[in-house]
Amino acid sequence: MLHTVLFLVFGAICVGGAINLLAQKHPISSALSLIVVMGSLACLYLLLGAEFAAIIQVIIYAGAIMVLFVFTIMLLNAGEEERTKGSRIATIFGVPGLLIGGLVGAWVILRGSEDQTSLSVGQFYGSAEGVGRLLFRDFLLPFEVTSILILIAIMGAVVLARPRGEE
């Protein structure tokens, strides 16, 4: 029962934030609403017993990534976005496509889970310890490989964001 309520609340916040992200003209507001979404998602993770995930969701996403975003927005002092008529395709093909795809997907999801596996708080508990075991044993290779990914990202950031002229 409580679970349901919490789900509805955070779910509502999520959706609201997402929609707000779309609705807002100024990137900053969009960024903030995205942070809201992430926060409430973290809560939903908790509901699903994913402590570890919830935490890093807050730390990495809300903490690191979104800060980076805001930082960039400030750096480029991006203003209100102008509603240019750049692309008809996006509206006449993209949006209907999105709707169709979404509906079909939703239908599948509803239909796909006839078994109605319903979840409740604490029913499944993903402890950091368990995650750690799994991560450093079965998923060792991906974990190591992500280091390369990060390395690439760093290099890229360095190369691309370095101001002009100094080659």
């Binding site: 692309s87 996006a90 169709i100 079909v104």
Partner: protein, 713 residues
């Protein structure tokens, strides 16, 4: 035993080759020597062969010689092989003999021409092909000669190729012949398809298995198609148009090719194929009718022409008509007989005309001649003989042959009195225009200088209007400068070096001797064929009989099988005899003789006594006269009906229309369309990220939808 027949055609070929390849470095004498030697040798060998042939026992006739296979595909076999029987022997002798004489004549006539070696190598080449034609032992080899002589005449007519009229005439001759050859070819295809062979012997055997066709059948088809070929080669309606133009060639050529030999090839072919023709009465009828009509029509034109060579040309056409008339009434031997005599006197006439032209320095218009008998007696007398011969004055060659034809036209089972009548009318005209020629040329006073306004329309202007250095009457004498250039026409229409002097003069002896010899031949040539009616017993016919057994429609059945047998002539005898007797024959002969004299008389009246009449007649007849004068506008008709439309069609419809518009345009349109589509497609790549995202998500939607549909299907 082999007679080495191959030498006869090959010797001239050798001559042609030598002159053709190396002649340019030779002196005229050397060229002469080569040309004459090889022709003479060929003639000599032919004569020897003839002698030995006559000595042969009958069962060895026809004498076949096979040298090599030209084609051997399965059972289909074409030989290089020669075939000697009475018919081909006669032809061979005529060709080599007359040919040799004309070579001699030409040696003198062309003495001052450029391109001497060319001329003689062509002439020899012609001899080769002509001999191949007459000696071949199968139709394809005959066709070789057939086309070959066409080629030779093309080259020789176009000998003065710098004159467009000459070039045109040559082309016209060749193409017209080709039209005829088309018929011949199809005939050959029929033979191949149904007889599977082209060898004379086999073809005749197979043909002999067919009865005489009532109605039109295979043989009729073959015969008619062959006759189409003949009309081309022998200048019969409707394909005669090339022959008059062929007079553009040097006169010896006209004599040899367009009078004596080549043009008779058609007659030879019909007679050679008598085994087929005799079994196709309808075809025979057609031949006879075409023949007589041609004779008549040509004669009428001949009356009006004023160019001496053209008169002779039309007379040739009409004489050929006679031959076909004979062949058409299945009197093949008569046809060949006339062919022979005609070869003599017509060659003679042309050579004489050549000598006249030579004398008048290249003049060909009879209206500018006259009174020449004082200047060139030999020519005059020989030509007089020839004229008498052709008009059929008794005692001369033409008399017997022509008389035989007329008689057969009347009496033969295939004959009819109408044919005879038309023939007789033609005979009248013949004698009229021939004597007209004689009188205009040799009598009265020399009109060399002045131009007389005798006929409103320029007679031979119509023939060679395109001729640059010859404008109608006023025959300008060009600067003799390019006479040194290899190909300047001398005799044709422009007085060359030796055409510059006033008074006409007799030709050199090399030209006169052939005249005399031919005169003798045309005088006595007829005596080998005196018909029974006149106490002779047609040796010639008996001689040829084995080659061309006649079979009247009724007795075809029993004679079919032994068609080639020796004794197949008795029935013929009784046929003709049964039809009519000597009295009728003599009567008709008398009539025709009278006609001949009448024509001569009229000519004498009009062109010696009362020379004002022709003009008035011409004026009074007006349109008709002009029509005849312009050869019934046949050339123009052909031009308007076939040639120009064809060219127009090809250019505007086929080429511009279909090729460039329809096909190419449509292809280009396809290309253009593709480019258009391509430009349309490129609009997808608009460069806008959100559009791209739109495409992606739309695509994703489709994919998702499809997969889910598959899943839940």
């Amino acid at each position: 035993m082999s007679l080495h027949l191959w030498l006869i055609p090959v010797l001239p070929l050798a001559g042609a080759a030598i002159n053709g390849l190396f002649g340019r470095r030779f002196s005229n004498k050397a060229v002469n020597a080569v040309a004459l030697t090889f022709t003479a040798a060929s003639f000599a060998w032919a004569a020897m062969v003839a002698v030995r042939f006559l000595g042969m026992p009958a069962e060895q006739v026809p004498h076949l010689e096979h040298y090599a296979d030209w084609l051997r595909l399965g059972s289909f076999r074409i030989e290089f092989g020669l075939y000697l029987d009475q018919l081909s022997m006669v032809m061979m002798l005529i060709v080599t003999g007359v040919g040799f004489l004309i070579h001699v004549y030409a040696a003198g006539y062309m003495a001052h021409e450029g391109g001497y070696y060319r001329f003689f190598s062509y002439l020899n080449l012609f001899m080769f092909f002509m001999l191949t034609l007459v000696l071949a032992n199968n139709y394809l080899l005959m066709f070789v000669g057939w086309e070959g002589v066409g080629l030779a005449s093309y080259l020789l007519i176009g000998f003065y190729f710098r004159r467009d009229s000459a070039a045109n005439a040559g082309k016209k001759a060749f193409i017209t012949n080709r039209i005829g050859d088309f018929g011949f070819l199809v005939a050959l295809f029929l033979l191949v398809k149904h007889f599977g062979t082209l060898q004379y012997t086999e073809v005749f055997q197979k043909a002999a298995q067919y009865p005489v066709e009532i109605g039109a059948g295979l043989l009729t088809a073959i015969a008619l198609l062959m006759f189409v070929g003949a009309t081309g080669k022998s200048a019969q309606i409707p394909l005669y148009v090339w022959l008059p133009d062929a007079m553009e060639g040097p006169t010896p050529v006209s004599a040899l090719i367009h009078a004596a030999t080549m043009v008779t090839a058609g007659v030879y072919m019909v007679c050679r194929s008598n085994a087929i023709f005799s079994r196709a009465p309808i075809a025979l009828e057609v031949v006879a009718i075409i023949g007589v009509l041609t004779a008549l029509m040509a004669a009428t034109i001949g009356i009006t022409q004023t160019d001496i060579k053209r008169v002779l040309a039309y007379s040739t056409v009409s004489q050929l008509g006679y031959m076909f008339l004979a062949a058409g009434v299945a009197a093949y031997s008569a046809a060949i007989f006339h062919l022979m005599t005609h070869a003599f006197f017509k060659a003679l006439l042309f050579l004489g005309a050549g000598s006249v032209i030579h004398a008048c320095g290249g003049e060909q218009d009879m209206r500018r001649m006259g009174g020449l008998r004082r200047y060139i007696p030999y020519t005059f007398w020989t030509m007089a003989i020839a004229t008498l011969a052709i008009t059929g004055i008794p005692g001369l060659a033409g008399f017997f042959s022509k008389d035989e034809i007329l008689w057969q036209a009347f009496a033969s089972p295939h004959g009819h009195w109408v044919l005879w009548l038309l023939g007789a009318v033609t005979a009248f005209m013949t004698s009229f225009y021939m004597f007209r020629l004689l009188f205009l040329t040799f009598f009265n006073e020399y009109r060399g200088a002045e131009v007389e306004e005798h006929t409103p329309v320029a007679a031979h202007a119509s023939a060679n209007t395109q001729s640059p250095e010859h404008g109608g009457h006023t025959h300008t004498v060009p600067v003799g400068g390019h006479a040194t250039v290899a190909h300047a026409p001398q005799h044709g229409h422009s007085g060359g070096d030796h055409g510059r002097h006033g008074a006409p003069h007799e030709s050199p002896w090399v030209m006169v001797i052939p005249l005399v010899l031919l005169a003798v031949l045309s005088a006595v040539g007829g005596y080998i064929g005196i018909p029974k009616a006149m106490g002779g017993n047609n040796h010639f016919e008996h001689f040829l009989a084995p080659v061309m057994p006649s079979l009247a429609s009724d007795s075809a059945g029993q004679h079919g099988n032994n068609a080639l047998g020796q004794h197949a002539m008795e029935p013929r005898q009784e046929q003709t005899q049964s039809h009519a007797d000597h009295q009728t024959e003599l009567l008709l002969t008398g009539v025709s003789v009278l006609i001949a004299f009448a024509g001569a008389g009229l000519a004498w009246l009009l062109y010696v006594k009362r020379r004002d009449i022709p003009g008035r007649v011409a004026d009074s007849l007006g349109g008709l006269y002009r029509g005849v004068l312009n050869k019934y506008y046949v050339d123009e008709m052909y031009g308007a009906a076939f040639i120009r439309p064809l060219i127009g069609l090809s250019r505007s419809v086929l080429w511009r229309g279909i090729d460039q518009q329809a096909i190419d345009r449509s292809i280009n349109n396809v290309a253009g369309g593709t480019t258009g589509v391509s430009n349309g497609v490129r609009q997808i790549y608009s460069g806008n990220i959100r559009s791209y995202a739109g495409w992606v998500s739309a695509g994703a939607a489709v994919v998702v939808f499809y997969m889910v549909w598959v899943a839940t299907r």
